[in-house]
Amino acid sequence: MAVLTEEQVMLREMASSWAVEQSPVTAFRRLRDSTEGLQRGFSKDHYRQMAEMGWAGILVPEEYGGSSFGYLGLGLVLEQVAQTLTASPLMLTAGVGVSALMLGGNTHQREQWLPAIVAGEVIVALAVDEGSRHHPERIECQASVCEGGWSLSGRKAFVLEGGIADVLLVAARTEQGVEVFWVPAVTEGVIRHDRHMADSRNCAEIELRQVVLPEEARLAELPGEQLLQRLLDCARAGAAAEMLGMATQAFAVTLDYLKTREQFDEIIARFQALQHRMANLYGEIELMRSAVEAALSAIESDDDDASLLVSLAKATACDTLNLMTREMVQLHGGIGMTDEHDAGFYLKRARVLEAAWGNASFHRDRFARLCDY
């Protein structure tokens, strides 16, 4: 894993100040309470600004208008904007969507879609799971050969950003095994049902009723199973980067509160019982940071142990953010239970990201299998 380059440090600082100035938690609160929030789950205006700063094209080669910054660079941005709970489809679009085209798409598809993604005009979502828990090996959605291409039928459950995505990356079973399909959401037969989740972000169930697609809709440049694993790992590492930002901020807010709250005529930060809990959380978050950065770097350089490090990062992120958000509420006491306070936002978003693309238990098992036990 490399030390951050000057450019990466600048990128991180730019993302950090943008989040603080343009997208503080109060902006997320306003969004949640607005019609736009209810219908879309993210701010169009914010996403336009992100695209203008070049973030939607972080992974895109320069020939298609991107900056070719790499996965660690994207992770740095995701971490920073997640600190203030910025609602955006950046991770799935700029991370997973772009990776799908770069790893599995042909030249024509790249030319057609990448510039639009860079411009912030196209949003991508990943439709893999068909039930409430992550089981990438249990895909029943069918893709059969038909005249002129493919016909897809099935259901995809809890597709994050699925209700607003312009393109769905759909994992479906063919006679040869599982393949990944590039499915524009406007295609006939794609029916979306919104799922209103606790984190107030976009989520949908996707019905695919004999959705007819051209031959090239199957992303064919990598074997399907391998492509699916790579895309899932991109999503997992991206989610872990967001979770790192959330944990860091939840910790900072909680620490701040302990230093101002007085009880028994004392600042409660002076109590050793609380000091030791914070010291422990501090350590857990440092370990989480190491794991997340290693996973992002491993994806960037396509290391052999990338999957192992991604599972390490996602499991660690799930456990640590779970603990941090519970402690955030508990250490705030009554005020942490109120909707007026931000703690609840962190708690709710945390659990959605924990459940997405494999929870801690899933990734522990995967880690052990990859280590051959």
């Binding site: 230093k259 050793q272 000091q275 914070m278 350590g283 036990y373």
Partner: protein
């Protein structure tokens, strides 16, 4: 890749070839795969002629302390070169024979605080692994509250007269010298402490080993009765030793995480596969133990990644606050590892000595018991948490 990066890569490749050649020439084949790290901790075991030859070779080259300045006998290597050296040692199944407290703690402290004369005198023998140092910090009444120490050093002009008792002196019975915190002013607590280097062969020094639950005696009680210590052995200013001691403890904490990140030892999962067996899917045949081993091995991996991150940040001149957590996390990993190994081995992991157990099983018992010390020595877990909360998180209030 830019041209400059290319040049750097070429320089590193050349260095690697040089290191590989040097190791092939100097590392005795008989020592292949035999790490004597334990001998360094336990001490007292005389080196074999081959071990002695390897120590001398590495010592003269300065590669036992690869990043220390060459002017004092160190290797003068940059971080990248030092990493290459470590990799090549591992590839050749060789080990670094230069270690101990001189390397881990005292050397870096002297480089920062000592006078030029003191550096010239004390650092080169550390680089060559000739002088064994021990630590005279803790006392029976000064453990976690180290600054309450009472061993007295009376200022007698040319020399100090030292009286008092130190305890938990690691390897005291085999040490040549001791670096100690002593009280030079009884009217003030932290500001009345000085940092002294004491020759363990001085008249009035007496050492008694303490037997531990693991059966070994790596620690001693050390008694000082009217010991004369020349004034030239005072490091830093009189009554300014606390800051030096604290810095030394930082080095100790970074190094004494108990090998939590040790890659060389077989993983617990591999040990457990042997004793527990696997199911038809190749998973450990004890789901509960498997889950706990996974958590442990994930933590160990994150720990290693964090240690690497701390080193990288330090090399780049950054302040790696993450280093403060390494001691506690490392201790947790070391102890979990020992407990899980024991559990996987069943009764075979509980042998004390004699027939019916293999070498690894007997070692598991001793390591498990010895490992309990890791969260106590060098600042207990609780003290580390105090330090993190107060120094890093600023939780002292106004």
């Amino acid at each position: 890749m830019t041209a400059a990066m290319n040049d750097k890569q070429i320089a590193i490749d050349e260095f690697r070839a040089e290191v590989r050649g040097w190791i092939a020439q100097h590392f005795p084949a008989s020592l292949k795969g035999k790490n004597n790290a334990f001998a360094a901790i336990e001490g007292g075991v005389p080196l074999s002629p081959d071990q002695e030859e390897w120590r001398q070779a590495m010592g003269e080259k300065g590669w036992g302390v690869p990043t220390w300045p060459a002017a004092y006998g160190g290797g003068g290597l940059c971080g990248k070169q030092a990493a290459v050296l470590q990799e090549e040692l591992a590839n050749a199944e060789a080990y670094n024979p230069i270690g101990g407290m001189g390397v881990m703690m005292l050397g870096p402290t002297l480089l920062e605080f000592a006078s030029e004369e003191q550096k010239q005198r004390h650092i080169p023998p550390i680089c060559r692994g000739e002088i064994r140092w021990c630590q005279g910090f803790s006392e029976p009444g000064a453990g976690s509250d180290l600054a309450s120490l009472r061993a007295r050093a009376e200022d007698c002009g040319d020399y100090f007269l030292v009286n008092g008792q130190k305890t938990w002196t690691s390897g005291g019975q085999w040490s040549d010298w001791c670096f100690a915190l002593v009280r030079t002013d009884t009217s003030r607590k932290h500001e009345g402490i000085s940092f002294l280097l004491i020759d363990m062969r001085s008249p009035g020094v007496e050492v008694r080993p303490i037997q531990l639950i693991s059966g070994a005696s790596p620690f001693c009680e050390t008694f000082f009765t009217d010991v004369k210590v020349p004034r030239e052995n005072l490091v830093g200013e009189l009554n300014q030793g606390w800051a030096i001691g604290k810095r030394l403890l930082q080095h100790e904490r970074t190094n004494l995480s108990g090998g939590g990140g040790n890659r060389v030892m077989p993983s617990v999962s591999q040990i457990a596969k042997f004793y527990v067996g696997v199911d038809e899917q190749g998973r450990l045949d004890d789901p509960d133990l498997r889950q706990r081993i996974i958590r442990h091995e994930m933590l160990a991996r994150s720990f290693r990644l964090t240690a690497q991150r701390v080193m990288r940040d330090a090399k780049n001149g950054g302040v790696a606050t993450a280093s403060s957590i390494l001691k506690n996390v490392g201790a947790r990993i070391t102890q979990d590892r020992a407990e899980l190994t024991l559990e996987a081995m069943g009764m075979s992991g509980l042998g004390w000595e004699g027939d019916g157990f293999n070498e690894k099983e007997l070692a598991a018992t001793r390591l498990w018991l010895w490992g309990k010390a890791v969260s106590i020595y060098g600042g207990s877990t609780e003290i580390q948490n105090n330090v993190i909360a107060k120094r890093i998180l600023g939780m002292e209030g106004e």
